[in-house]
Symmetry: C2
Subunit: 391 residues, 2 copies
Amino acid sequence: MYDLPSKFTYGVVRSYMAARVPSGSADMAAVLPDEQLRYPGHQHSAEWWLFKDLLRRGPRDGPVAHVDDPRDADLFYVPFFSSLSLVVNPIRPPAAANASGAAAAYSDEAMQDELMEWLERQPYWRRNRGRDHVFICQDPNALYKVVDRISNAMLLVSDFGRLRDDQASLVKDVILPYSHRINAFQGDVGVEGRSSLLFFMGNRYRKEGGKVRDALFQILENEEDVIIKHGTQSRVSRRAATQGMHSSKFCLHPAGDTPSACRLFDALVSLCVPVIVSDYIELPFEDVIDYSSISIFVETSKSVQTGFLTSFLRKISAERILEYQREIRKVRHYFMYEEPHGPVNEIWRQVSLKAPLIKLLTNRNKRMVERGANATDCSCICSTNLNLGGD
Amino acid sequence: MYDLPSKFTYGVVRSYMAARVPSGSADMAAVLPDEQLRYPGHQHSAEWWLFKDLLRRGPRDGPVAHVDDPRDADLFYVPFFSSLSLVVNPIRPPAAANASGAAAAYSDEAMQDELMEWLERQPYWRRNRGRDHVFICQDPNALYKVVDRISNAMLLVSDFGRLRDDQASLVKDVILPYSHRINAFQGDVGVEGRSSLLFFMGNRYRKEGGKVRDALFQILENEEDVIIKHGTQSRVSRRAATQGMHSSKFCLHPAGDTPSACRLFDALVSLCVPVIVSDYIELPFEDVIDYSSISIFVETSKSVQTGFLTSFLRKISAERILEYQREIRKVRHYFMYEEPHGPVNEIWRQVSLKAPLIKLLTNRNKRMVERGANATDCSCICSTNLNLGGD
């Protein structure tokens, strides 16, 4: 891990706090030492926990080791809090922040530029043009201004919704789970306490792939055993979502502005079988998780046919639902950031799996002779989607 | 490993022997049990040793385990002796073979077809359309007739000279070393016993990338400290090559019909620093071997400039040559099939490194919804060759 200037990590947390809390407590936060700063509520969990995990000293049995000498490093983690940086400035700045001037001074775009200026001065960045560097940009808009300057590197992302094929791929990058926001269901597998067939609560109107949401609302909102509600994030709606996901057999997961959303992980920790309507979704840890055994995928075009979804789901037997739930229970620790063998270790394992290919390409690059000016040299793995069927 | 009908493995050896040895001994070979058949001289070593290694029972500490139940397998090795099959019929069939009729009956193309017919009936082949299968085709012409039917699978090859980008890639496939044909140099590092600057012996006339050879002959054949000889494979020329490689500082490695050749590995086991003139070469185990520290790469266009190669090589100090030799000594076990920690284990390690991505893609394929008819879906890792310099 880079010993990045702290303005790119804890400094982002301080700016975030300064923009939100009454100026007195912000001042108090300003004098707190770094190690005493705590996880700020709205940060993507992975961003915080991967950083804290690498800071942890002492023996570790995980898939990665933190080395102090950069010459020993296979990969370089750049722990910039890129997603938190994006939301430092609240949409409507509170008066307090305006008064202190602290929030107004923060610019996410400027931070992205400063990060790149800093990196581009580092010999280890220049050595392989960033190929062996790892960035976290879990929010689809994180690092957007500099994404073309870091696209050689490994990106830890939620999906490829805003990224072009030449910026990100399954070969180069790692898909992270969002952290669930509602509490895990503590009960056993079963359908008795799950009286409603299908549950969805969220924003009815979204951009791009999320336009399907409005169509789904129209089709589903008059079905008796379906709970579908327009709602935005709040403590009240979180309570309603918990209640709904813990008492439904299936939980709808339509695409949002991009193909993925945290709702999928809420459903999984609730043992509510996800019904995924998002044709371009990518899913975390798919080498160890067979998502076809823990969720149901429905093509967008089929999902908006009147009556299709409900009649399809009603035909699924209680025994089959139990099977899905049992499979979900086997893998849900992968999505619980609070678990010792949870996502943090698994993300590092995924990162480490990419290391040999990165090493191969960096070694190869050292000895490559000119194959034509600025020729792009790609290695791919392809499959032709013959759609042989299945569910 | 597949329990392939033995006609695809030992059967190929029998056909090969029958076509070459006096009919009496061929009959004897025909009654030998499979386990007593020995390595036939002209087979690519990996083909034989990978097969024998997987047959070996008992505990193993290598990177792969052989499972008996296909449900437990991550990958399926198809041990067809594809390169040996290619040369079963000698170019000029001896009279004995003609008399027995055995050699005339063997058809490599028919074998390739029969292999595919057999595989395409197997449920494990059909399950993932071959994606989790591994083929060895080290000769650039091996399996050529069916290569489009197996291009989903992992291929163990020498280079990508005859393969298109959609048939093979560094992401999907593994580059194997040829086995060296001359004896390893037993002496220490040093330049004292190495009186000649540069050595090459081989076919002067080759197709495609190998056309550079004739140009190199013209430039180099009158240089006093260069030994460059036209020669084809024979016991005599092998002895001359051994002598030459053991007593030269540098060994020329121009492209042949395809970018790679066994000569590179002869040079390495001889501690003769390879001078590689082959712009499209791919090299084995490049994640663990930095070839820029054990060999010199020269662009084809530069290598044919009069005087360039020799004056460039003469400027390299004895100390620098010793450094190259020391680095070569550290890695040459990777190229010695007779070593316990040699290429066989390393090939399996390379194969096992691909398993997670293959598993990810097969899991993903199970749940993918239609993204358009016959759409090809590729994941790539790319680099733009900016040629920042180096040596």
